[in-house]
């Protein structure tokens, strides 16, 4: 896939995810209309319309402000604030170096420089987010800035710049913002079902019948499976992208070994990145939750890991270094 195809595919998938999200809300709303509020003749589908409006609004919000939500949940702070707050010279030098590296890689990628952010966490990790290259942000942890040397930092930032340029950030941001919404909804609906449980059977009269029963089952399944589907979606979108971003990073720096070294150092840091929450794990360069499934290559592990095995990514990069 070339760059243009990747961008187009990411745009399409973003719309698809948002459409699925809205459709899911519509189904839940229709279920409420049919079984709880009663769907007789001339009944106005309040719940369906409300659910559609909420789902659509939420999808729009995730595209427009998802990056702020993601950065906020990781407690990321703008680099300028960190720079003005920093008192010791070494820290100032580290921040300035990060800023320079972001500018360098933006030049190499031929895109505007993304806004740099710093996450106050000692575990090395990094992610990029935003709706397009002109509205992108790159966040790294304090631990990353301390652990890596300049070349390795360049490799990591180049990897993130790959996500920015390929428009991975848009899809991953929307998924992050929407999966959070689905998890929230699943909580609500279980409470609502418990509350309205008695009325479900009463309302299933002649005009709904067998068809109504099928819709009820689909509705229940949707609510039960929602968190699972959301989670799997989040996992599926991120793994292949990591290899691609690694390759783009190597292409930008012409130095695949630096990124390979950086990944080794990140992998060696055992502590999980505590400030990065479950919903944003798939955005990061390395799995912040430190899950063991990322280290094996079975079908089951493939389904659940947000990232490809680190050993394979490093091996792929070292191979690139041999070819160059």
């Amino acid at each position: 896939m070339n760059l243009f195809e990747q961008q187009a595919a990411n745009r399409h998938r973003t719309w698809l995810v948002m459409a699925l999200f809205i459709a899911f809300f519509a189904i839940v709303g229709a279920g409420v209309d049919l079984f709880i509020l009663g769907g007789g003749q001339g009944y106005f589908p309040v719940a369906t319309l409300l659910a559609l409006a909420f789902g659509g609004g939420r999808a729009w919000w995730s595209l427009r402000f998802g990056d702020r939500a993601v950065l906020g949940s990781a407690e990321a702070q703008p680099l300028e604030e960190c720079l003005s707050r920093a008192t010791d010279d070494d820290a100032r030098l580290r921040y300035r170096q990060f800023q320079n590296v972001v500018e360098e890689m933006a030049i190499a990628a031929g895109i505007p420089a993304p806004a740099p952010y710093v996450i106050p966490d000692d575990d090395p990790n990094a992610f990029a987010t935003g709706r397009d290259p002109a509205h992108a942000s790159i966040a790294v942890t304090e631990g990353l800035l301390r652990t890596l040397n300049r070349e390795e930092l360049q490799g990591v930032v180049a990897h993130e710049m790959g996500h920015v340029r390929n428009l991975d950030i848009r899809l991953m941001m929307v998924v992050a913002a929407l999966v959070g919404g689905i998890l929230l909804l699943a909580d609500w609906s279980t409470r609502a079902m418990r509350f309205g449980g008695g009325r479900v059977r009463v309302r299933r009269d002649r005009d709904s019948g067998a068809v109504g029963l099928v819709v009820l089952i689909v509705w229940l399944v949707a609510i039960v499976l929602a968190p699972l589907i959301g989670q799997l979606l989040a996992l599926a979108v991120s793994r292949r992208r990591e290899y691609q971003a690694d390759a783009t990073g190597a292409e930008l720096t012409r130095n695949p070994l630096a990124l390979a070294n950086a990944l080794e150092k990140i992998d060696d840091a055992v502590a999980p990145t505590t400030t990065i929450k479950r919903g944003t794990a798939h955005l990061c360069i390395a799995d912040p939750l430190g899950k063991k499934v990322n280290d094996t290559e079975s079908v089951w592990a493939n389904l659940w890991a947000t990232h490809p095995p680190m050993a394979q990514r490093i091996a792929a990069l070292k191979e690139m270094a041999l070819v160059h």
Binding site: D89, D90, I107, L252
Partner: protein, 188 residues
């Protein structure tokens, strides 16, 4: 029937021509933009050098020759005429700077000076930006040249006034060695 087919073919060719023209214009603009980006970074390097020389002058009393070599190379590079000339003179400036930074390594009071460290970081960042700007320019100019020269767009490229862009080439072997700037800053 034959008339309709003819019209369809002419319309299709027209659409193809428009698409090709727009693609060439887009690539040419990106190429020119890439070229300007190099200039921006070169200018920034010229601005940074006097600061560096001023900061290290006191400690490097005995290295007057190295310092004046850098300032001379800077003056020459700023007065360069044309891309080929600029490319050669900027290369010489890079080498003079590399020597200065290498010599500065021998002065412990410089190595631990925060201002010098910051300036070194700024300078090596600018060196990198120049390098990456050239890399981007070469990549995009190559794409533009391929579009200009490959069949069938080459039949129209010259008619529309598109000429292949000149690529950056490394002048000599000494230039291939990028000046090594130590940025380990005491950590491993």
């Amino acid at each position: 029937m034959a008339g309709i087919v003819l019209i369809v073919i002419i319309v299709l060719i027209g659409i193809w021509l428009i698409g090709m023209y727009n693609r060439l214009v887009g690539l040419r603009n990106q190429t020119q933009n890439g070229w300007r980006q190099i200039d921006v970074q070169l200018k920034r390097r010229h601005d940074l050098i006097p600061n560096l020389v001023e900061t290290v002058k006191g400690a490097m009393e005995f290295e007057k020759g190295t310092l004046t070599a850098v300032m001379d190379a800077r003056a020459k590079a700023m007065g360069a005429a044309g891309p080929a000339d600029a490319s050669r003179k900027e290369g010489e400036l890079s080498q003079a700077l590399g020597r200065l930074l290498a010599v500065a390594e021998n002065y412990p009071q410089l190595k631990s000076n925060e201002n010098v460290k910051m300036l070194q970081e700024e300078l090596s960042a600018t060196e990198n930006k120049i390098g990456f700007a050239r890399q981007f320019y070469n990549d995009i100019a190559t794409k533009f040249n391929i579009a200009c020269q490959s069949f069938p767009s080459n039949l129209f490229a010259s008619a529309f006034g598109f000429t292949a862009a000149e690529l950056f080439q490394i002048q000599d072997d000494a230039d291939r060695q990028v000046p090594k700037v130590d940025l380990s800053l005491g950590k491993s």
